[in-house]
Amino acid sequence: MSIGIKVYQTKDFIRKTAQGRIDLARSLEAVRELAKAANYFKGHSILMDLRGTEVDGDRSDALRVAAAFAIHFKSFRNKIALIIPDTAERMAKAEFMRTCMHLQGFQWEFFMAYEDAIDWLSDITEL
């Protein structure tokens, strides 16, 4: 019988919050910065909060960012969750990025709601 109670165990995570416009150079810099942090804090998941951002760039740029992540593959052993604005344009970009990241072997997912990202980053046991 379920009593509607769940136990959440959320792994420690590094949160990167960005605001404003993101271009390719900034994205590559962010990947390097995250790789350093993830390498230092091994075992942590990553939460990238991009809700307050606008993205310049096309699919070619997305490929370059995915390739930059791949250079640091060993630093990112855990899940990477992205939170993006709830627009069709950003979802389309994130879906393409997800394909690229999955092809590189990353556990990468995007969400429009913080709550859904936390669910994905957590081990949840229903009682």
């Binding site: 009593i3 509607g4 109670i5 769940k6 136990v7 959440y8 165990q9 959320t10 420690d12 995570f13 590094i14 949160r15 990167k16 919050t17 960005a18 605001q19 404003g20 416009r21 993101i22 271009d23 900034r26 962010a30 910065e33 995250l34 350093k36 942090a37 390498n39 230092y40 804090f41 942590h44 939460l47 951002t53 913080y114 709550e115 936390i118 009682l127």
Partner: protein, 131 residues
């Protein structure tokens, strides 16, 4: 573009989600269910997600409910976050409940955002990029 890097260490928490109309009977049962679960998760915080509920509980019933929690005080060692709809009526009710719970010795906070509740359950430390 501005950026910040922050380290989050969220504590384990028990989440109880309710839907529909909250009355005294169902609330009492929820308290008992939570107390039972809290026995086995002594280090967990508690999240009561009431965002999809309507409440018919009166102020007097709220006091009784806090006393019901109080009967199980020894089982609740950590924080209790209550998530509610962002309406003035519910915020007023929840703040009264908070005062009653504090009188019973509980550490309770009211939130309208899941994100802020998680922050309250976490150790949050700004992170300088490692060199």
């Amino acid at each position: 573009m501005s950026c910040s890097l922050t380290l989050y260490k969220p504590s384990e928490f028990i989440r109880k989600t309710a839907n529909g109309t909250l009355d005294m009977e169902s609330s009492r049962k929820a308290v008992r269910d939570l107390a039972e679960v809290a026995r086995f998760h002594r280090d967990s915080h508690i999240m009561l997600d009431l965002r999809d509920t309507e409440s018919t509980i009166s102020p007097v019933e709220q006091m009784k409910l806090a006393m019901e929690f109080g009967q199980y005080r020894q089982r609740f060692h950590n924080r209790i976050a209550v998530l509610i709809p962002a309406t003035s009526d519910r915020i007023e009710k929840a703040n009264l409940m908070k005062r009653c719970m504090e009188a019973e010795g509980f550490e309770m906070k009211v939130f309208v955002s899941f994100e802020h509740a998680i922050e309250w359950f976490s150790e949050v430390a700004p992170l300088d990029p490692p060199h």
